[in-house]
Symmetry: C2
């Protein structure tokens, strides 16, 4: 039997696949070459997770990879009806980004509580101006998205004394359902978005939502850009409906130099890096090689995406409606 063909939708730097030498034929492609290579590939590694080329290139009923892995937590740039309908298994990089993203969020929240942006601005002006800052402990946060990233954010903020409500699509045990979001957000000091981008989360943070928040509230998005109506957020900040916001993800990335978002007062703009701690690329590569070895050995894959939901469901099954009684 010939070695399987692994197609890599590449970016620079390439993944380190040395451990697979001699056991797989690796082919690299860019967006334009993808459609031509897909029919002959057994597995596809979406290493360039910023690409949405798979959507356009996925073969319908023809020969196709049996497994697609993306080096990211979100799969929104990847999934399309044809891929969702096929029997191809999709996996993601669950396990790599949780702690880095949670630390990033904790850092942002503390920076707002302590007005670090104000301090740096005053420092530029050589201006000594004492202010009263906020105590983080005892404040309230709402974390939207109860996947592993949202849960890790919850853990870290809880450790800092924050009272955190975690909101998911459906309520279960200690997790609130989306129907509780408005009520929880209205009394929150911090609203953190760490949800996957799906049809039901697209544009959910809009003028209506920002209008519910306290004037002292701060909104943070480390999920995906299109969940936020950016012009509504900018308006909410300009009108002081809310006190601050931080976006690490955007509707279009990279954010162009002419975007008005750069200059919105109270908004911190960062370049989609919350999860990218030193060595992250190597960790993603190692994770893929481990998964490849399971796959090649015929073992069940982990981190399998539910292609209908658009994310890896929790082990507790709370992402799905309960089965009808007696079924």
């Amino acid at each position: 039997m010939s070695e399987p063909v692994l197609l890599v939708l590449d970016t620079d730097p390439s993944p380190r696949l040395g451990r697979l030498t001699g056991r797989v034929r690796v082919r690299y492609t860019d967006d334009r070459g993808l459609a031509g290579h897909l029919p002959s590939a057994d597995a596809l590694l979406v290493w360039d997770f910023t690409s949405d080329a798979v959507r356009g290139a996925w073969p319908g009923d023809g020969p196709r990879p049996r497994w697609v892995h993306t080096a990211s937590a979100g799969v929104d740039r990847l999934l399309c009806p044809a891929l969702a309908a096929s029997d191809t298994v999709v996996t993601n990089a669950r396990g790599i980004f949780e702690l880095p993203v949670a630390e990033y969020v904790a850092g942002l929240v503390l920076a707002f509580a302590k007005d670090l942006p104000g301090t740096l601005e005053l420092q530029r002006l050589h201006h000594w101006r004492h202010r009263e800052v906020r105590q983080l402990s005892g404040t309230r946060a709402v974390v939207v998205g109860a996947g592993p990233i949202g849960r890790e954010i919850t853990r870290l903020l809880h450790g800092l004394g924050v009272r955190v409500a975690l909101v998911a699509r459906r309520a279960r045990r200690t997790i609130h359902g989306i129907e509780d979001l408005d009520r929880l957000a209205a009394r929150a000091d911090w609203v953190i978005c760490a949800a996957p981008l799906t049809e039901s989360t697209y544009g959910m943070f809009d003028a209506r939502f920002f209008g519910l928040l306290q004037p002292s509230a701060v909104f943070v998005n480390v999920g995906r850009g299109p969940m936020v109506v950016e012009t509504d957020l900018a308006d909410a900040l300009r009108k002081r409906w809310i006190a601050g916001a931080a976006l690490d993800v955007f509707q279009e990335e990279p954010l162009g130099p002419d975007s008005p978002l750069w200059d919105v007062r109270g908004l911190v703009v960062s370049p989609h890096m919350s999860g990218d701690t030193a060595g992250w690329r190597d960790r993603l590569g190692e994770q893929f090689v481990d998964m490849y070895e399971r796959w090649a050995a015929g073992e069940p894959l982990v981190n399998v995406v539910d292609k209908e939901l658009g994310y890896v469901p929790s082990a507790d099954g709370g992402d799905r409606p309960p089965a009808p009684r007696g079924s």
Copy 2:
């Protein structure tokens, strides 16, 4: 018996002493009037903790307050040989600043780990530049000063996964003695100063010390300014001996607009506010009123400063050399 006289070395806003109405005669003074009022006062509240007027005004053997309370954690601006030699009790504001300062330090450390200053600078330039950031969990910190503030910093950083070594004047149980500082600092990612200013800590963070640190290390001072040789720190940053620093306290406060420190690359300058969360003034006033009631009732005071050591010693007695055997 006439009511005791409470002298308040004032600042604006004054403390709220309403609960003491009718039980104490309150007199307010500024620095210049202090010497004239001290002989007739039973107690002195140093509400303007930035003043060092007590040092110059303290009466030698003459009539004097039996109790001095300062609305601050540090007593370095207050203590003088005449006060230290007298039987006057000195108390401080232990209990007010611990959590706010610890949160502030956690915020600074996370901001450096995630390069938030760099993000804000790039945002000003409308420049999208992805960088790899640092994971905080698993890094090493040294906290110098094992009083309640240093211990609270240790607790918070530990909760964020940082391996923290706490250094005090003398080793005890899990706390390192000052003789271990160089060795610990040489492998630390974060060096935090939360020690009291005393003769033995004055100028301890100098070129020799910064020269020991890793090039990736960050130094944070939330103790007192004169513990740091500021020109040596600025040199260490300019020469890239260390990666970053944050000073919340300075040799002279407020820092003048012409100070070269404002513009040192990698240095965050904040206006001595790490402990000052919203409502801090009221909490200081309430704490004093509680202490006053103990004092007026003849009960033992808490937060009593050891005037030789220059701070409130720990309950475990580790601040003092052990008594000689057999004594």
